[in-house]
Each structure stands twice: as C-alpha cells, then as structure tokens.
C-alpha cells in the first residue's frame, strides 16, 4: 500500500518569495518529497524552476529539509512526508 498524501506546509526563503507572489509559505498535498516537488512544478512553476533545473535535479546551491533533516542521496525524492511535517527550501551555505 502506498503512502497517504497529506497537507504539507512548504517554507519559502525570502530570496524566492518574489517567485510566488511574496508568500513565505505554500501548501502541497503530498506523501513524498518527489510528490511535493511535482506539485510545486504544477502550481508554482517559477518556484520549482528556482529549486530544480531542467533535468529535475535539485540545484547545487539549494538544500531541501523535512523538518530539520537534510534531504539528500539517491532516493531523496522518496523521502516520506507525514502529517505535521514541514518541508523547507533553503539556499545552501556558500562561501566562507
């Protein structure tokens, strides 16, 4: 049985809010990180393009977190999202 989709708040960093009408938080209905990104692509394409490149890869200087856990690795898009989770989009630290 597949995971159950649930309502997940998506925290948008200040530098990306211009891509979604100034909103600091969006909501997706998703069971995994991959599903959340797919909904961003459909509903907020400018935000999605800032997070993922044309191949669907998360940009090198963007980090995704579920709560305080960094989402990374080969199966990162399968990371489950559960009721109460918060999905964060963050600019990665760059420079010294």
């Amino acid at each position: 049985m597949g995971l159950m989709a649930t309502s997940i708040p998506v925290q948008i960093p200040a530098t990306l809010r211009s891509e979604c009408g100034g909103q600091s938080q969006l909501v997706v209905y998703a069971a995994t990180v991959g599903e959340a990104l797919l909904q961003l692509e459909q509903n907020y394409p400018a935000v999605y393009r800032s997070v993922c490149d044309e191949t669907g890869t998360v940009r090198r200087h963007v980090h995704l977190f579920v709560n305080s856990d960094l989402v990374f690795g080969d199966n990162s898009f399968d990371t489950p999202l559960n009721s109460g989770d918060i999905f964060f989009i963050m600019p990665a630290v760059s420079g010294g």
Partner: protein
C-alpha cells in the same frame, strides 16, 4: 532628447549602467541591478523606435533569468521566461554567455553554457532550442575550457551565422542558422595532439565589420610556445579559412577582439601572458592594428605603467560609434577604462566596481 551614451557593465555582482553625454567627459553610474548576481552578457537593442536593454542574470543558487529594460536602464524586469533545455534533453542551463539580435524585428539569439543556441521570436518572453548547432553531431564531444563549455559569440552576416564555442571552435551556418558546419581551417589548438583539428578549438572571440563582408577577426586561445601565432587570426572568405595576424604582438593570448566602427582595417586586442592572464610585464596595454593585422601599435598612454595584475575578459572590451570613437574595457579587478581618440588616451572611469564580465555601449 540629445544623444546619450549608455554603457552596460555586467559584473560578478550585478549589472551597472553608466550614462554620459556625447562628450564622454563625465559618466553617471546607476545600479547594481540584481545585486550580487553575475551578469555575463548584455545587449543594447536599437532595432525598435526605442532602445531595449537585455542582460543575463546568472544566479548560481536559483538559475538563469533574462532582464529587460525599456527605459534605458532605469529599471529592469525579468522576461516571461529564460532559455531552458527540453526536459528529456539531459542538459541543464549553467550560464548565459551571449545575447544578440536575430533576423526578425523581435528575434533574439542567446548562447549558453553548456554550448547551445536558443532563439526567441517575441523579445525574450519565450525561447526555443536551435537544434542545428545545439544537437550538432559534434556537440557531445565539445568540452569545457576554463570558463565552462560556453557559446560566447554569435555573429550574423546576412544569411550566415558564425558561432564561437569554447571549446568547440568556430561553426558556420550559411542557411540562416538551420545547419552548421565546423569551419576551423587554419584555427589551431595547443592542447590536443593534432595542431589543427576539425573542431574543438578554444575560440575566445570573433569580430566583424558590416562594411567588410567576409572579413572576420578571431582571438583564439594562443600562447603556446611550440605552436606560435595561432592566437590572433583573420579570415577573408566568410570564415572558411583563417590565417595568423599575430606577428608583432607581445603575446598571441588574449580574450577580446574589437573592430573600429568606421574602418574595418582597424582592430584592437589585449595581449595577455598565457600563464598569468595578466598583461605582459604587468603593464597593461591595448594593441591596435590599422592595416588588418599586418602591424601592431601599443596603446598605453594613461594606463598604469607597473604593478597591474588584471585580466580583461572576452566581452569586457567594446567601442562606441561616435565620430571619434572611444574604446572601453573592464577589468577583473573592477576598473572601467575609457580609451579616448580610438585608444590614444586612457582614463579610468570607475575604479572599484565588482569584477567586470562584459561591457556594451550604444549611442541612444
């Protein structure tokens, strides 16, 4: 309104606009627009009734944008979209290196990294990949130079189109951009066993003049002791064959090459030491030829005489089209210089900008 001179200065940390009257005595600076974001290419498009400025905004965090200004660089807005590879292509846009007018009134051409060409038919709001070069059979064999695998030069000459790719070489279309062939006969390479390969050269810049159809000048990646003279080249047959015009220069390595607006025989280069990419003996100078590359003259009046360690990048030198034109170059140390009287007298206009990637000028 009296004619004004507009300079677009693309830097590592945003776009600046400098404006002056035709005397070019005093320039006023505004910006940065998109502060903190690299700008590698700009275009002052004068085809319409009102000039439009375009610039690439290349954010390493969140991707690429095209900026557009219809008020001479007072304000900039993003176009509705930027070039992007089709989803199933497998390539992702890494940088925007060139913006040039296309053949139609609102057509734009855009060269990107990884080396590919995009075309817009609506002033930059939507873009399509130009397959003739972007999916060329050679394209997966090109490889990046120090600046990345970039299509940095787009030169239109009637139905012909010349492209400069680093490292891919010179590609020529003679059917308006539908198909392209590598056209590097005489263009050398110092970093592969074959000194004159079919393609794969590290072309740095190509320049033409509208009054001299068929004539092209190229700054290629020179500086090879065992393959001398391959860095500065000229073609007189629309880029089918090339010959060296480097004799007389202190180095055949450099990035920009610029043609005088009123004389196709007058060209400018900035020779650099190939190892340090700074001017020989750390004394910057622009070199001018008044006879199509047969002889060269050093122009350094007003430039520092010692202890200068900057590089001038491929798109960081340009020339205006006034009766007595001035040259402009920007440095990787953030200085913008003006070479008055066709480069005979140099003055520093701005000395503390961010590192400069590109400089474009227009009289509007």
């Amino acid at each position: 309104m009296a004619e004004r001179l507009i300079l677009c200065i693309g830097t590592k940390k945003g776009l600046f606009i400098a404006e002056s009257g035709k005397t070019r005595h005093r320039f006023e600076l505004r910006g940065p627009f998109r502060p903190g974001v690299g700008v590698y290419s700009a275009l002052i498009d004068q085809r319409g009734t009102k000039p439009t400025i375009f610039a690439s905004s290349c954010c390493p965090f969140f991707g690429m944008k095209i900026l557009r200004s219809t008020d001479l660089g007072q304000t900039f807005k993003e176009t509705k979209s930027a070039p992007a590879f089709p989803k199933d292509d497998g390539r992702a846009l890494a940088n925007i290196w060139s913006l040039e007018p296309g053949s139609g009134k609102r057509d734009l051409l855009c060269g990107v990294e990884p080396a590919s060409l995009f075309r817009s038919k609506d002033g930059g709001n939507s873009w399509e990949l130009v397959p003739g070069i972007s999916n060329h059979e050679h394209s997966r064999q090109w490889h990046p130079g120090n600046g990345g695998l970039c299509m940095h030069t787009i030169v239109r000459e009637g139905n012909r189109m010349h492209l400069g790719i680093s490292t891919g070489g010179h590609y020529l279309s003679e059917d308006g951009g539908k198909t392209f062939n590598a056209s590097n006969n005489g263009v050398g390479a110092g970093f592969v066993p074959d000194p004159y390969p079919e393609f794969g050269q590290c072309v740095h810049k190509i320049a033409t003049h509208p009054d001299a159809p068929g004539r092209l000048y190229m700054q290629n990646h020179g500086g090879w002791e065992d393959r001398p003279g391959i860095g500065v080249l000229r073609s007189d047959d629309h880029g089918h064959t090339w010959r060296s015009i480097a004799a007389g220069l202190p180095s055949d390595f450099g990035f920009p090459i610029v043609v005088h607006p009123h004389n196709a025989e007058t060209i400018y280069v900035v020779p650099l030491d190939p190892a340090t990419r700074t001017c020989p003996e750390n004394r910057p100078a622009v070199w001018r030829s008044d006879n199509g590359g047969d002889n060269w003259k050093r122009l350094a009046k007003g430039l520092p005489k010692k202890e200068s360690y900057f590089t001038i990048l491929r798109d960081a030198m340009t020339i205006d089209h006034l009766k007595s034109p001035s040259l402009y170059f920007g440095t990787t140390t953030g200085q913008l210089w003006i070479g008055r009287e066709s480069g005979d007298q140099w003055d520093c206009l701005f000395d503390s900008l961010p590192p400069i990637n590109c400089v474009k000028v227009a009289v509007v």
